[in-house]
């Protein structure tokens, strides 16, 4: 490394310190961009922290799923894939998947439809700011508290919503959470109540970025306001929606606090979604090995679905369309 321009700088920025390859052809005055190694050095502390708090427990999870885990001071017993094999004959496990699928798709559908509609209304409202503050409140509540709150609202004796649904003739006497046919809808409503504002917020941010002139051009081209939304706004907010869907579906796959507070998986296992079942297996029956296997399978599916969503998100044409707006 020769050349005065560079050597005057602090030693930490010199090539020798960070593994630059000095090239003979390069003019001395050009500042070469740092090598990849430089970025690795910069990221090392963050990676180390991440490893300690996520990767280590993750490896433990895999370890547990391959062992019969003893809680006492006894060595765990290696069982290979036996924990996974047992899942295949576990009807509750598959039922958990089905319920989780139903729950998650219902939640997402309602949250997206209501959330986007609210965002469009808010975006055109004079009272946008106070309304947004109001809408955000459910999100600020801890899920357990939300669960308890709705537990009372649903209560068959004095619950206000119970009274409302009953008056509409929807329940036929029983409490909404008390009947296997309706309990799943009960927890879906709570999730929709709590998390629709998140979708609204993200969509609203997206709507703010829809270029005004595109909307106007479309109006001049001859489209109605509704058509305008689907042909101009929606493609523009699509990446934002994908992020919202990604966040929500991952949350649906792991948040069980509200469900535990509301039904604990009942009645008659009608709300025993896979994560709830996982909780029961691991922390009620303390079959940690089997719980590990369930958790790992849940994780794998979450990652695969997440990757599919990210892949859609990274569709090159769409990506270009996004960057073109900046």
């Amino acid at each position: 490394m020769s050349g005065e321009n560079v050597s005057k700088r602090h030693p930490i920025f010199t090539a020798d310190a960070w593994g630059f390859r000095a090239s003979e052809q390069m003019p001395e005055t050009i500042n070469r961009s740092p090598s990849k190694l430089f970025y690795v050095y910069l990221m090392a502390p963050a990676i180390a922290l991440l490893a300690a708090i996520t990767i280590y427990p993750f490896l433990w999870l895999i370890y547990m799923s391959l062992h019969k885990v003893k809680l006492g001071p006894v060595d765990d017993k290696w069982v290979g894939l036996k924990n996974y094999a047992k899942l295949l004959s576990d009807a509750k496990y598959f039922e958990g998947w089905v319920l989780l699928g139903k729950y998650s798709s219902m939640c997402l559908t309602f949250e997206i439809i209501i959330g986007v509609t609210l965002a469009v209304i808010l975006n055109n409202s004079r009272f946008e700011k106070p309304l947004v503050t109001l809408f955000l409140m459910p999100m600020m509540v801890s899920p357990v508290v939300a669960g308890l709150l709705w537990f009372y609202l649903y209560n068959g004796t004095f619950g206000w919503y119970h009274w409302l649904f009953e008056s509409l003739g929807l329940l036929g006497g029983a409490s909404i959470l008390g009947r296997p046919e309706t309990a799943l809808y009960g927890i879906v409503i709570v999730d929709v109540w709590q998390w629709t504002p998140l979708i609204t917020l993200i969509t609203l941010a997206g709507l703010k970025r829809v270029p005004q002139d595109q909307l106007e051009a479309s109006m001049v081209d001859g489209s109605s306001p509704i058509r305008n939304f689907f042909s101009v706004s929606l493609p523009n907010i699509f990446p934002f929606l994908l992020i919202a869907i990604l966040l929500r579906f991952m949350d649906n796959f792991r948040f069980i606090d509200a469900i535990l507070a509301l039904t604990g998986g009942g009645p008659a296992d009608s709300t025993k979604l896979l994560p709830v079942y996982l909780f029961d297996v691991s922390f009620k029956f303390f079959k940690l090995g089997r719980g590990g296997a369930i958790a790992f399978s849940l994780l794998v599916v979450t990652i695969i679905l997440g990757l599919i969503l990210v892949r859609i998100f990274e569709d090159p044409a769409r990506k270009q369309a996004m960057s073109a707006q900046d």
Partner: protein, 365 residues
């Protein structure tokens, strides 16, 4: 293809007590005519166009297309096509779909859409780009796509909102002639909003000059340049700028002369007659730089001054002479030898001048 009438139109943003963005505008655009609205930013030209397009509410007055009042029609029902300053292409659609969009919305059959998009894009020489998306296009190409989207349908009125403002100078010059050609070929009534006088004067059949929401003058480009209606238009239009000097009309013999800080400026017989008939005494006399001579020869009627600035404009030099506190500009040959601070004499044309009331700015001659 219709005529457009704008009658007593006002535009207020916010309260009606505030300043009008457009104040009592009256304009008529004949069928097939190309009209440019020219003015600095904030003059109300864009508001005017947006009211015609229906994107902005009309606060008062009426706008009619071919005798039908369109005040309360939505943009989609006005049968207009608009080209936006930032092109406003749909980034997620290909060039073909961008151009085809108005036809699709009008529910034209798909073979006809293909046919018409082809014709429009061939005309604009972008037919090889149909499968690309806007972000893969250059500024000039995007602009053509935006124009393509406008001409693919035969609208009643074309609206251009500074469509070539963001192109580089060379491309802009080319697009000026092409746009003009296109408009003449299609024969569609067109309104063109710009802050660039070159665009307005070179393309339009008539130019409307606006300032602070008020229409200053609405006339042919030549009339705007040669007979500006007031001192503001005179200095806004024309590059380099017209020099305005404060004078007093004084009787001399049987005719009149202009008294500029003790210097006598003789005027031609035709001008003299008009000035003698005018009641105004204090006036602003305006001279275009090509009607002023700056040199070292002291002749009768020349005014002594000092060279304040000189700019090379390519084939000529713009010389600026300071006479007391007044600047007078002249176009001179490139062999002009006087340097900054040199003494000079300024000779003004007797015939080619404009005279405005010093009080109101309204043109007297």
């Amino acid at each position: 293809m219709v005529d457009v009438k704008i009658e007593n139109v006002y535009k207020y943003y916010g309260s009606i007590d505030g300043v009008a963005a457009v104040h009592d505008l009256n304009m008529d655009i004949k069928n097939g005519e190309f009209v440019a609205i020219l003015g600095p930013s904030g003059c109300g030209k864009s508001s005017t166009m947006r009211m015609i397009s229906g994107l902005e509410h009309i606060s008062a007055g009426t706008i009619s297309f071919g005798g039908n009042i369109v005040n309360n029609l939505a943009p989609k029902d006005r049968d207009i096509a608009m080209v936006f300053e930032n092109y406003a292409l749909y980034p997620h659609k290909t060039v073909f779909d961008n151009v085809a969009n108005p036809l699709k919305l009008a529910k034209v059959s798909s073979p006809e859409i293909t046919e018409r998009v082809k014709r429009a894009t061939q005309l604009l020489e972008i037919d090889h780009l149909l499968d690309r998306r806007p972000q893969e296009l250059s500024g000039g190409q995007k602009q053509r796509v935006a124009i393509g989207r406008a001409i693919v349908r035969q609208p009643q009125v074309f609206l251009f909102d500074e469509p070539i403002a963001h192109l580089d100078a060379k491309l802009r010059a080319r697009m000026r002639s092409e746009l003009k050609r296109l408009q003449v070929d299609l024969g569609v009534t067109s309104l063109y909003v710009t802050h660039d006088q070159l665009e307005a004067l070179s393309m339009a059949d008539r130019v409307a000059v606006m300032h602070e929401g008020i229409l200053q003058q609405y006339d042919t480009p030549q009339a705007i340049y040669e007979k500006p209606a007031n001192a503001w238009v005179a200095t806004f239009v024309g590059e380099p700028q017209m020099s305005l000097i404060e004078c007093v009309i004084r009787q001399k013999g049987s005719g009149v002369v202009l008294d500029f800080e003790g210097h006598e400026i003789a005027v031609g017989a035709k001008v003299g007659k008009v000035l003698a008939a005018s009641k105004e005494r204090e006036v602003l006399a305006g001279f275009r730089p090509n009607h002023v001579a700056i040199n070292t020869r002291k002749t009768a009627g020349s005014i002594p001054g000092i060279i304040y600035a000189r700019q090379l404009l390519g084939g000529e030099i713009l010389a600026e002479a300071q006479v007391n506190n007044t600047m007078i500009r002249a176009r001179v040959n490139t062999d002009f030898s006087l340097q900054l601070g040199d003494k000079c004499s300024v000779s003004l044309s007797k015939e080619d001048l404009n005279v405005f009331s010093a009080d109101t700015g309204v043109a007297i001659y």
